[in-house]
Symmetry: none
Subunit: 234 residues, 4 copies
DNA sequence: GATGAATGAGACTTCATTCAT
DNA sequence: GATGAATGAAGTCTCATTCAT
């Protein structure tokens, strides 16, 4: 009499439950009450996304239960459907929402004209602070784990995040090569080599954190030693 | 993800993956017939594992259906349970079975006394041929994706595979450092840095193979350029 | 007998039969709506228990299908699981629920100071009216049939029902013996002898009602003749 | 490609897997080898029935597994089908086989002309020795528990066993009444009253043997005290 | 005759999704 | 808007029965 469950395996496009962003501008129109309602709505949405990240990270997409997401967010199960069209939308919007603030800052770090070593040091800092040290690493884990089942999401992530990151890294490497700071073009052709240890750190600790944790900072510093061919103290 | 009911029965031991190996000697006694049955059993088991790898890779553990595994293996649903206790066991034994032949060869490659560059070249060849070019890469993807939900499996993989790989890589790097082939200890402290691009290649192509494939061979060669600080042609 | 699969999830507490009773007081606060929902819930629960009694009686625990229980209760299969953790819980709670109202009245009948014959006549009436004439006899049949597979249930029934019945019957017999209404202590030592024909009536009619029905009332009256050593009309 | 499972709930008549009894006469025809083969067959059949009684008693008809029956009988699962048409036939033949030797002796005990008290004492002895003290009590338990689902079996048991027992008990009671050994006709009208404590003992110990065992001998002796209105020692 | 691997219908349980309140 | 009871499709696992060896 009500309705059956949509299967995990036949993803169908759904109407986004809600316009991508309620636009802060509109809030001024009807003043406080409207504002309050919207603020409440945004907070709920955040709460759901946050809870969803926890649950999806802990169990994976298929095994995560919206019941648990709701409980963790402190709302009723049905409420999720006021904010997201379905489980899959929730997942995809989660990834997009976490990526959004990152995208804004992406092109920045390769812009200025500092020595390669300094740029890399700052990059490592940034990655440790903004990715590995935050829930963003969990999003990356999720994308790695679930991406193959969500081609649209993978494509989005590639286009909106990785492609831009690659462009910036490539520009960085290009300048370093031109200046003679590095002697090979490998990092220009494959900026992924610059980021590889970050992936390793995230994947490794996702699997082995409890049995053999990997010190991400030390790993990344070691990586810089290799790239910059720094001599170790004897 | 779902599963059958709590039974009234007293729990009894399950089809524990089958006795390790009925000893080739005994088979000679009664000859072919016994052998044939055993061979058939082994073949079935292989077929199930192969089908399972396909399905688990395509959908992930939770979303894969044993029905599909059976169909792909050309057997009936129930037959799976003659060879594996349940879905989880099938998954874990799949990973273990794929890891087994690898484990034997692991310590070999770091043994002899060749120049670092040659050793790395051979290592790259080995990885391309034996991992990235085979279904083993799919197993690694599976471990990365599902490992967090299967701590026992992650632990197994760490202990039986990665730990040994790390030891070998570390020995390699250690010798290279002592001979002055590299100037830094980073690769000794973090052999993961040597393997990082392999992880990246597997993860990247798992996600983006159709939209932006990454040439694993070129990537690994570039990585050697970086590590060995080779000069690029101008 | 069958049942779902061992899940990846961490096991979580189940729908533990529902909080004992939300306290009638609290319902007054928010009035009708809350009351209505609760009433509906209670009614559903009753309907499920009633349907379950029918199905378990007709087929036995193992062969009864929850599908049929649901259909008979006029609900969907899944709804059962909102009220009971699983098939076994449903069965056990069914027995407990049917026993509960009886337990309250159990100690009463042996309390007052009437002649043994009158007490027995009243007891016979009570048993015919409240047990043999109701579905309670079906519950007793179920316990006899399935009890050996549900030790916890058997224990519960012994402790909460039979033990109390036995105590009351023994007190009755004890008084009768002291007053000289009976000449032997057998009924004091084995109050089961007083109740034996009830068991026989239930078991007999459970098996042979259609081919050789046993008149329970006449049987019990005959039993009184024996116990009280009444002379038959010639 | 092979065959599905027959449901518990749509019992259909099957060809008896084998003529009721292999007739000892025929064995003489071909001499020893034939004899040996037949003996072996009979032994197998016995072993299966014995194992089946154990399993059916322990789990009930529906939950018992032929796999376990086979294992317990020391044979392969398929072998059961050489001796019995299906699970249901096995169950029914089990009950019939256990009843058979009893049936032969049933009319005997009421035949001779002894005092009622002596006849009852002998009857009690017989029941303790031949029923309660043997696996026959388990068969009775099985009939009580499963009979409602096997009308043909219930009918058989009523006709072949209980009806005859009732006739004999009634004759006994009739004579006792005529001789003035008892003053009431209740036992003539309801011979079940004579047997009631046996049923109680079997049912009670089936349920509560571990938590509150009932001394069957003492119970039956007490019953005689009641029936014969014997005075207890003060 | 005996075996036991294989089959596949069937039953329990889960959970995404809906909708009356 | 929010709730959470209800739905029912879907998936795992079991086991009676068959049949090639």
């Amino acid at each position: 009499m009500t309705g059956p469950a949509k299967s995990v395996r036949a993803p169908r496009p759904r109407a986004a439950a809600r316009p991508p962003a309620p636009a802060a501008v509109a809030t001024a129109v009807k003043g406080a009450p409207r504002n309050a309602r919207e603020a409440r709505g945004r907070a709920r949405r955040e709460a759901i996304l946050s809870a969803a990240l926890d649950e999806f990270s802990a169990r994976g997409f298929a095994a995560a239960r919206l019941d648990d997401v709701a409980r963790r967010a402190g709302i009723a199960k049905g409420t999720i459907y006021l904010y997201f069209a379905d489980k899959e939308s929730l997942f995809q919007e989660l990834v997009r929402a976490m990526a959004a603030p990152l995208i804004a800052n992406l092109e920045a770090f390769a812009g200025d004209d500092v020595p390669f070593a300094s740029a890399l040091e700052r990059l490592v800092d940034l990655l440790l602070r903004e990715v590995i040290g935050t829930r963003r690493k969990d999003v990356i884990r999720l994308i790695i784990a679930e991406g193959p089942r969500f081609p649209a999401l993978a494509q989005f992530y590639h286009r909106e995040v990785l492609e831009r990151v690659m462009v910036s890294l490539r520009r960085l490497a290009q300048r370093a090569y031109e200046r003679g700071e590095i002697r090979h073009r490998a990092l220009v052709d494959f900026p992924q080599l610059l980021a590889a240890p970050v992936v390793v750190a995230i994947v490794w600790n996702g699997l082995f954190e409890t049995i053999a944790p990997l010190d991400a900072r030390a790993l990344l510093q070691g990586h810089l030693d290799v790239i910059l061919d720094r001599r170790s103290e004897p």
